[in-house]
């Protein structure tokens, strides 16, 4: 089994082993469950850091392949479906992000009740899907892992969620699976047009890109399918409606993982499959989606301004920020795409931080309505400061991750000479101001001012595990903000093939 010599496969094997370990624990043995979950999550973080190290070392030593650590094992020979692994810079940082969020998510759900064992089982099944998606370069396996990551959401929200959870869980699952129905058709179409030689079909992304044989009229049909398929997960307007409801009902760790990682699957998929494999249609139809994502950015920000539920505010803010990711990807130049990946990282970490903090505040006050809270800074300074930091990252304060990402995106977007792109860019930049409005509104209302409920004075600040969860994320946000070059170095080379493909069809 030569596949096991490849380190990438362990990103899938570790969660599966964790699943096995969890299955062996007893329902009541909460300590054992926690121990297994933490071990699994820590191993993932360690492996992700090691991957970054070897990746950088390989790039430094002059390896210029599009994908590194490639390996492919035949799976379904008659259909030429392989288990093909490989990573480029974008996947590496996505894996790193996922590992950190899984790690923080485990700590954020430390006191999960009821059924902690089942919770962690679904949680790690979801992580298996996420990691599998990022390490695959074969459309079939990618799609399979993508769906593996989606379905646990239903039970995670349905069983452990709050509020109108049945409705939200069903809506989220059906909308995302609806997206993946379009995606499946797109993948089947790509497969059958992957090569100009009759009878030769492949699912391998690199081979498809190399053959570059998808006829233009088919691209015009398949590109919208794939882009919408992933766009639903990326909360693209008008397919974003699952996101606020889903986030509002999901338990903390699930919101973290969902906003932090799952929504990135959408952006990553649009970049890796829709645009890379079908550059012609991307050039032709890009403007439609660019307009839609522009609407997402501004509309999401405005919606966040009028919400009173903390989770809804963040969910709409996610719509806005994820819109920015897709927006930047559709700008088709290296700078904007770099910004898009930085924004994925930044948004992933800071939204996870937000949701973790909201979960902790909710766990104490039992309300998420900002009108019923106030002056929490005096009562829980640690959480309060964390919230302010997350807020600053979100509105783009220099030194934190949001600034780097948004700056790069807008500079990259403005590189376009034509009126259409520039007007859209200017419209999108207004979201920075609107973001400041809703962030400062929440911070002012929630943390400062008079204490609204005398009962809140008795509440405690964050405890040990909660501090670990939030501190991990805050440090990551600051690191990206202060040392963006480190990440840009990793992802820099990944855009060359995509941008080349796009310019070749101009």
């Amino acid at each position: 089994m030569e596949i096991f010599s490849n380190m990438l496969i362990y990103f899938v094997i570790i969660p599966i082993l964790t699943l096995g370990g969890l299955a062996l624990t007893k329902n009541k043995g909460i300590d054992a469950i926690r121990a297994v979950a933490v071990t699994g999550a820590t191993a993932l973080v360690a492996l992700a850091l090691y991957l970054v190290y070897v990746f950088l070392k390989a790039r430094a030593s002059g390896v210029t392949d599009v994908m590194l650590f490639q390996q492919s094992v035949m799976w379904y020979a008659p259909l030429n479906i392989k288990l093909a692994l490989g990573v480029d810079g974008v996947s590496v940082v996505m894996i790193l992000l996922s590992a950190f969020i899984v790690f923080a998510g485990v700590f954020a759900s430390w006191k999960m009740d009821p059924l902690p064992k089942q919770f962690f089982l679904w949680f790690f099944l979801l992580s298996t899907g996420v990691f599998g998606f990022f390490i695959s370069i074969d459309l079939f396996t990618m799609f399979m892992f993508y769906e593996v990551a989606l379905i646990p959401m239903y039970l995670l929200i349905g069983v452990w969620g709050s509020g109108n959870k049945n409705y939200s869980a069903m809506k989220l699952t059906l909308m995302l699976m609806g997206g993946s129905a379009f995606l499946m058709l797109g993948i089947i179409g790509i497969y059958f047009h992957s090569s100009a030689t009759p009878g030769v079909h492949t699912m391998n992304i690199l081979e498809i890109a190399q053959y570059n044989a998808i006829p233009h009229n088919w691209q015009m049909f398949l590109f919208p399918m794939t882009f919408v398929g992933f766009g639903v997960l990326g909360a693209m307007f008008p397919f974003h409606t699952w996101s606020p409801d889903g986030h509002a009902s999901a338990p903390t760790a699930v919101s973290m993982l969902h906003a932090g990682v799952l929504m990135k699957l959408g952006g990553y998929g649009c970049f890796r499959i829709a645009i890379y494999l079908m550059p012609f249609a991307a050039q032709q139809l890009g403007w439609i989606f660019l307009t839609l994502t522009g609407i997402s950015i501004v509309y999401g920000a405005f919606s966040a301004c009028v919400q009173t539920d903390l989770k809804y505010i963040n969910a709409y803010s996610s719509v806005s920020h994820c819109g920015m990711v897709l927006f930047a990807i559709l700008m088709f130049n290296t700078t904007a795409m770099t910004g898009a990946v930085l924004q994925m990282l930044s948004h992933g970490l800071m939204t996870a931080l937000f949701f973790a903090l909201i979960g902790m505040i909710y766990g104490r006050t039992h309300t998420r309505d900002i009108r019923e809270m106030g002056g929490l800074m005096h009562i829980m300074p640690y959480l309060g400061v964390g919230y302010v930091i997350a807020g600053f990252a979100s509105l783009g304060l220099p030194g934190l991750s949001g600034f780097v990402a948004e700056m790069t995106i807008f500079v990259g977007s403005f590189e376009h000479q034509d009126m259409f792109h520039r007007v859209l860019t200017i419209a999108a930049t207004t979201s920075i101001v609107i973001t400041a409005v809703y962030i400062l509104r929440v911070v002012g209302k929630l943390l400062y001012g008079a204490v609204q409920d005398e009962h809140h004075r008795t509440l405690t600040d964050a405890d040990g595990t909660e501090r670990i969860a939030t501190a991990t994320l805050i440090i990551c946000v600051a690191i990206i903000g202060c040392f963006p070059n480190f990440f840009i170095n990793i992802i820099r080379d990944s855009f060359t093939p995509v941008v080349e493909a796009l310019t070749s069809v101009m």
Binding site: W75, A77, P78, E147, Y154, V159, I188, F192
Partner: protein, 486 residues
């Protein structure tokens, strides 16, 4: 007569031997040992299932009326596996009161219908096919009426037998047209003599034939019997009807359409099938949403599943055929898992509605888990087998390459979302609504457990282990001469 022809049908002969053994046991063993009959039949059939995996001699026999090749061999094995699971799950039920007195008949009739299905699969002459179809249909009506103390069981049997007879009559009328035009009932001779023939009568005949087989597959609009029969029949018979009977008909349908009508009339039946698939999948799904009785629910779900199976037929190529057989195999495991759970719960508590399943996970985590796997697999969720079979059957259909088929695949895909909704409703009842627990903790019999275990392993492994699909694909691609006519 050349007796070596019998060498081509070891599976049929083996099945007859099983039947005879069961029959002899039932007739001649002392009454107090009859309690062991269900287990005896199951074990013998299990041995036969293993035996039938030995490769068969390929070729035509009995005046070219009977074909034995790798595809028929594989299809019969797939049915055998399903049949074995059904028999295993019905051991305890067959010994329960009211049924015990007739348990011998149950096994004998089941085995006979399976024999009929073998003939449907291997027949290359419409006479053999019709004999097989009737052998497979009429005893099933008796089986449907098996729990004769229930009114519903009688009603179901009456409906089943009337529909069966009516659709057989229509099909036979169609076949008589075919005979009138071509003067033969051999598939390959029909194929060569309708080449260039352009007659309206033949199209009518084709439509009649499709409606005759369509009833067996419960394709819309020939599905009206399905829900009532599934609900009224004993659960074991329902599960048998929904997977084995359907699987064999689908395979025979494929062979007939491709071999007899593929040469000249492929575009015509493809369009007929195109319309049928769309309404079958959609109607099945939409009606399933409203069902509260799980057996009715699975009836409509299996109607829409039949529509998906037909995607393999419409593709009419080697990938489609392999995908269809694979789909049937996966469908057997998934549906039998669902019916297995329903049967266990129904037998101990008599409860069959979705609301009764509220909080099942709390009291019976293992049954709830199996049911969830079955629902996810039917809904096409990875990493369970149903995902792979759905993907491959879409792949097979899309291989034909025209845009109309892509539209069909898109409609089918959108329908998977609808189906996911109602499959998730069952999962929701079991896992999410844990405040009320209607069903107490149950202790199922070891045979039922074994049946569910086999299904669970099947659902978990068939997709991830690629060798089964690869094997089926190698078999169907070796039949390339069949598809060259299209």
């Amino acid at each position: 007569m050349d007796y070596s022809q019998f060498l081509m049908m070891p599976q049929e002969i083996g099945l007859l031997v099983v039947f005879l053994l069961v029959f002899l046991y039932d007739t001649f063993m002392p009454a107090k040992t009859l309690k062991g009959l269900p287990l005896f039949a199951t074990i013998v059939f299990g041995l036969f299932t293993i035996f039938s995996f030995f490769p068969v001699e390929e070729g035509m026999s009995f005046g070219d009326m009977f074909e034995s090749n790798k595809a028929t061999w594989a299809m019969k094995n797939i049915l055998n596996i399903g049949m074995f699971i059904v028999l295993l799950q019905s051991v305890k039920w067959a010994n329960s009161d009211f049924v015990a007195i007739r348990r011998g008949e149950f096994y004998e009739l089941m085995l006979l219908t399976l024999f009929g299905m073998y003939l449907m699969i291997s027949g290359r002459h419409f006479l053999v096919f019709v004999i097989g179809l009737e052998t497979a249909s009429l005893p099933l009506a008796t089986l449907v009426a098996f729990e004769k103390k229930y009114y519903e069981s009688h009603e179901a049997a009456a409906k089943y037998v009337l529909t069966a007879v009516f659709s057989s009559a229509i099909m036979l009328l169609g076949l008589s047209f075919v005979y009138g035009i071509t003067g033969t009932l051999y598939f390959n001779e029909i194929a060569s003599s309708i080449q260039g023939e352009n007659s309206l009568l033949l199209i009518v005949a084709l439509a009649f034939l499709i409606s005759g087989v369509g009833y067996k597959l419960s394709l819309v609009p020939f599905h009206l019997w399905t829900a009532d029969v599934y609900q009224g029949a004993p659960t074991m018979v329902t599960s048998y009807l929904s997977v084995i009977s359907k699987g064999s008909a689908a395979f025979a349908f494929f062979v007939i359409l491709v071999q007899a009508f593929g040469a000249a009339y492929a575009p015509i039946w493809e369009w007929m099938l195109y319309a049928i698939i769309i309404i079958t999948i959609t109607v099945g799904n939409l009606f399933a949403i409203r069902q509260r009785n799980l057996k009715r629910f699975l009836a409509f779900s299996s109607i829409s599943q039949a529509g998906y199976i037909m995607l393999g037929v419409i593709s009419a190529n080697a990938v489609g055929m392999a995908s269809m057989m694979y789909y049937i195999l996966v469908y057997i495991f998934s549906n039998l898992a669902a019916f297995g759970v329903i049967a266990v719960i129904e037998r101990y508590t008599g409860k069959v509605t979705t609301d009764d399943y509220n909080g099942l996970f709390k009291t019976n985590p293992w049954l709830a888990f199996v049911m969830m796997l079955a629902m996810f697999s039917l809904g096409g969720i990875p990493p369970f087998a149903g995902f792979f079979s759905k993907f491959f059957i879409f792949l097979g259909a899309a291989q034909t390459g025209n845009v109309a088929i892509y539209v069909l695949v898109l409609i089918a895909l959108i329908n998977t979302i609808i189906s996911l909704y109602y499959y998730l409703l069952v999962v929701k009842a079991m896992f999410i609504r844990q405040d009320e627990c209607v069903i107490p903790a149950l202790k199922s019999h070891w045979t039922e457990k074994a049946g569910l275990w086999i299904c669970t392993l099947g659902i978990l492994l068939i997709g991830l282990i690629s060798c089964i699909y690869t094997g089926l694909s190698n078999i169907t691609s070796s039949l390339s001469d069949v598809f060259s006519m299209i």
